[in-house]
């Protein structure tokens, strides 16, 4: 299909390969609290999609319930969105993705939505290696219901209410790895330079791509005793290395010194370059990734960056051997075996 794009554009706004400005990727005005980490993540998504020149209507954005799950209203206004029920976004995306393999599926969730009520669906969608980007806007609390601790809150961390959390935290990256996820990254809403290339890489990845993004809740969990506050994360984040994403067909323009970078090509022809990697981590080796996460569990620091990527990932459509044509595009002639077969079936039932 080639429908015309709106023609008049502000001359100064940079356009991408498709002729879209970044504004074409924006959504409604946010109603989140001023300063909420979630808004920064929305911004990073807008930037990544714009820079990758993805047609906005070829993206489906789905979410559960929560402040984070509201965020899809505030980006990609030309994409279809689905704000489903609390904790059940993964199943809805699974169905959607089965119906049409040609769209890009962007799931957005919160730590409550994913690690508590959504734990069952989260683990299983990871295990099925559904081809999707799964973004968790992780603030360690339930923003929309006024700040209760979530299951990702660290033991001892205290939100605005003041009581230190008595349970141990669930690490979504570690959990996803356990489930066999094929792309696992962690980031911070305040670090757009890291976030944007990670989102791009997640989009290019074929299979389930988790980005667990610490995203402070300024209203309920940004106080001094919280380990999900801007301050704490700034002080305790430790990047696995820096990452550059080079889309397919792009000219290689940036210079880099071979010794210090690692370049890998993804299945869609894009490539990512990793610089200054932590010695102990080989993000293409699961055992290494598991190990590094365990180390950080002890140190108490927050490991950010690309943690694991499986370049040989086979997504759900591949293992199911589904038709290359989107299932939702098939019609009677493809699907209905006709009366003749019924005559045979009837005969066998007499």
């Amino acid at each position: 299909m080639s429908y015309q794009l709106p023609k008049f554009r502000h001359p100064e706004l940079p356009v991408n390969d498709l002729g879209y400005t970044r504004a074409d990727y924006e959504g409604a005005i946010s109603t989140l609290c001023a300063g909420c980490g979630h808004d920064s993540i929305s911004g990073a998504i807008v930037r990544a999609c714009h820079e990758l020149s993805i047609e906005p209507h070829k993206i489906a954005k789905l979410s559960g319930i929560g402040c984070s799950s509201k965020a899809p209203t505030y980006f990609l206004g030309n994409s279809h969105g689905f704000n489903s029920v609390h904790g059940r976004m993964p199943s809805v995306v699974t169905g959607a993705a089965l119906a049409n393999r040609d769209l890009l599926y962007m799931g957005v969730s919160g730590d409550g939505d994913t690690a508590s009520i959504g734990m069952g669906q989260f683990t299983h969608v990871a295990r099925r290696n559904l081809n999707m980007v799964y973004i968790v806007m992780n603030n360690g609390c339930y923003g929309l219901t006024k700040g209760q601790d979530s299951a990702t809150a660290d033991r001892g961390s205290a939100s605005k209410k003041g009581d230190p959390n008595i349970y141990s935290a669930i690490d979504l990256c570690g959990t996803a790895l356990q489930m066999g996820a094929t792309f696992v990254a962690r980031s911070f809403s305040g670090d757009k330079e890291q976030l944007v290339p990670l989102i791009k890489a997640a989009i290019s990845h074929r299979g389930f791509a988790l980005i667990d993004i610490v995203s402070p809740c300024v209203t309920f969990n940004n106080n001094t005793k919280s380990t999900k506050s801007y301050e704490f994360v700034r002080e305790h984040a430790e990047a696995t290395g820096t990452i550059d994403f080079v889309p397919m067909h792009s000219e290689i323009t940036t210079e880099y010194q071979p010794g210090h970078a690692h370049e890998v090509t993804m299945h869609d022809g894009s490539s990512i370059r990793l610089y200054k990697m932590d010695e102990s981590l080989n993000p293409f080796d699961r055992r290494s990734a598991v190990n590094v996460l365990e180390e950080h569990r002890y140190s108490g620091n927050i490991l950010t960056g690309l943690i694991y990527m499986n370049l040989d990932s086979r997504d759900l459509h591949e293992v199911l051997e589904t038709s290359q044509r989107p299932l939702n595009s098939l019609d009677e002639s493809d699907l209905c075996p006709g009366n003749k077969m019924l005559l045979n079936i009837n005969a066998s039932l007499r």
Partner: protein, 620 residues
């Protein structure tokens, strides 16, 4: 002793141990009778267990074509010592008890009023076979052979069936036929053949087929164009998706590429299964899920979302005996209320009630048209009795000219041409709005789907007026739905009467039979089979036309009656309940008894409650 004598009219019950392969032998027996032109209605009565517990297979043979449970056993064939005492006790006076007399019958179980016939099955097997597995398997085939002699069946029909069943597998055909012959010969040589009950060829089945409702449903989904199936195993609905898969593997795999024009996912639970079905439908594929009681409860939140956000959703509910885990391998029609009002808030869900495999197929396919046309969940309500038992049915057929009704969907061309798009805008006045599939158009056509309130353009709103307007539109949509769902089937008894019966689903066969009997006794009743909720105008009119209507249901709380009371307004004493909820299919005898009781009493209390209490004393 007066032996029961009859030709082509009896009830036989096989008593086996589950996990011993008796099902296929019993099935062979029933199907052979069917091939002889006799209406049969076999019913599996199995435990919620895999191996080692008593299981029964009850076959009613009736030349008049009555297929409901009759009640009472004429012949019991028992190879299970565990249940023998119960089995022999159930035989009607004058009936027959056939058993494996390798070990003699416990003297305490002996009855004088029935014929006791021994066939040394174990001994024969031990003599013939060395392999214990073969001994077990062929024992079942041997008793079928013996029965053939005892009932004077056409032995060739049996051997023909075996040949058809194992077509191409010669090494299976001969041993099975041999086993049949072992039994046949033993009976011929050692027993009085035939017994008082006999069968003979007939022509009462026409072009009918013998099929279980779940397979028919799976085929309905296949023909209806379903491409995505998401489910979680649960008895008795599991075989719906099994059947869908079986046939999809045959006809939906591209021979060139080996790629599949369908996707089946076994979800991690029912919450996920229905979420997947909803996601796929939202994205423009026809999809469904199938479940039973506990699954329905778990799907309740999502059903509310689909109702409110108006997402086509197809759910096949194969009902079993509730509440809770209840009796998972027994039948009931007891999810009516929980489905009709599924989920919190003001919701009303569309229900379809098929009553034969043919209708499972038809309604199964229709569900997708309705879901997409009406943009709401369609819950097809079948039950274990229909779903898991072979039922005699009209053959399946499909009009090759038929096009799927994909409902109101705007295309990129329409959007481009400037058609105004508001997802919840009632353009046509039928309260059904236009939708778009994700990815349709670069700048027009995207909208946000949500379970929260929104205005006609799918924009989030908390304005009372907008919310209310939307809820009222949904209520108007209910009226539109009324025009689309299958109408009831009314059977006029042809006599002047102010009394009628109303039934649905698997109560049909027993009801028809009960009505015939009542009519023979001079009680003439009109009848209506309801096939959907919302109830059409005809349903109301029919009820209003009569002074009294018996509502026949297989649940305790008269759930369909509750829906009728809530939707319409009927005076006291108008709707009387006839209920059966012990987990067995309702029988004609039971219906007749309850109706007569009502007719003879001038009880003024709400009768459905009272009736339920009565039932305690009944056995069939």
């Amino acid at each position: 002793m007066k032996r029961i004598e009859s030709v082509n009219d009896f009830v036989i019950k096989f008593a086996n141990v589950n996990g011993t392969g008796s099902a296929s032998a019993n099935n062979l027996f029933a199907k052979a009778l069917f091939r002889m032109g006799l209406p049969v209605s076999p019913k599996n009565i199995f435990p919620s267990n895999i191996q080692g517990l008593p299981t029964w297979y009850e076959v009613r043979v009736n030349e008049k074509g009555y297929l409901g449970r009759r009640g009472g056993i004429d012949i019991a064939l028992s190879v299970n010592p565990q249940s023998m005492a119960q089995d022999i006790g159930e035989v009607l006076p004058g009936g027959y008890f056939i058993y494996d007399n390798t070990k003699l019958l416990d003297i305490r179980l002996h009855r004088d009023d029935i014929s006791i016939i021994g066939v040394p099955l174990t001994r024969i097997c031990n003599e013939q076979y060395d392999d214990p597995r073969q001994r077990q398997l062929f024992k079942n085939v041997i008793y079928v052979g013996a029965l053939a002699a005892l009932l004077d069946m056409d032995f060739k029909v049996l051997t023909g069936l075996v040949e058809d069943q194992f077509k191409g597998k010669k090494n299976l055909v001969l041993p099975n036929i041999h086993a049949l012959e072992l039994g046949y010969q033993y009976a011929r040589n050692n027993l009085d053949c035939p017994i008082g009950i006999r069968v003979q060829k007939s022509d009462k089945v026409g072009d009918k087929i013998l099929l279980d409702g779940n397979t028919a449903l799976g085929l309905g989904a296949l023909y209806g164009g379903a491409t995505v199936a998401a489910w979680y195993p649960i008895t008795p609905s599991t075989s719906v998706v099994d059947a869908f898969e079986k046939y999809a593997k045959r006809v939906r795999i591209d021979p060139g590429t080996g790629q599949r024009n369908y996707a089946i996912v076994q979800a991690e639970d029912e919450l996920s299964a229905i979420g997947m079905a909803i996601g796929a439908s939202w994205n423009g594929a026809r999809s469904f899920t199938a479940t039973s009681g506990p699954g329905v409860s778990l799907m309740s939140e999502f059903l509310g979302l689909a109702y409110f956000a108006e997402i086509p959703t197809v759910l096949f509910n194969v009902q079993r005996a509730g509440p809770s885990t209840g009796m998972p391998t027994r039948t009931q029609q007891a999810d009516i209320l929980s489905c009709a009002y599924a989920s919190h808030g003001d919701t009303k869900q569309v229900l379809l009630f098929p009553s034969t495999p043919r209708e499972c197929f038809d309604f199964g396919a229709l569900s997708f048209d309705l879901a997409e046309r009406l943009q709401t969940p369609i819950i097809l309500m079948t039950d274990l009795d229909l779903g898991m038992n072979d039922n005699m049915s009209e053959p399946l057929s499909w009009d090759d000219e038929r096009k799927y009704d994909r409902g109101k969907v705007l295309t990129a061309e329409q959007l481009e041409a400037g058609v105004e798009f508001g997802r919840y805008l009632d353009v046509d006045g039928d309260a059904i709005c236009y939708r778009t599939y994700p990815g349709t158009h670069p700048t027009k056509g995207a909208f946000f789907t949500r379970g929260t309130s929104r205005n006609e353009y799918a924009i989030y709103t908390e304005k009372g007026e907008e919310y209310e307007a939307n809820m009222l539109r949904l209520l108007r949509k209910w009226d539109t739905i009324n025009e689309y769902v299958p109408a009831p089937i009314i059977v006029d008894c042809g006599m002047e009467t102010d009394t009628a019966v109303l039934y649905f689903g698997t109560s049909e066969e027993a009801s028809r039979e009960a009505l015939d009997h009542l009519s023979a006794e001079g009680v003439h009743l009109n009848a209506m089979r309801v096939r959907a909720f919302p109830f059409n105008q005809e349903v109301q009119e029919f009820i209003e036309r009569h002074k009294q209507v018996f509502v026949i249901e297989q649940n305790r709380d008269a759930q369909l009656r509750t829906l009728l009371m809530a939707e319409f307004e009927f005076g006291p004493d108008k709707l009387k309940s006839v209920l059966c909820f012990d987990g067995t299919p309702i029988s004609a005898r039971n219906i007749r008894k309850q109706i007569k009781k009502h007719l003879n009493s001038d009880n003024v209390l709400p009768l459905h409650r009272d009736t339920a209490l009565l039932r305690a004393g009944e056995t069939s």
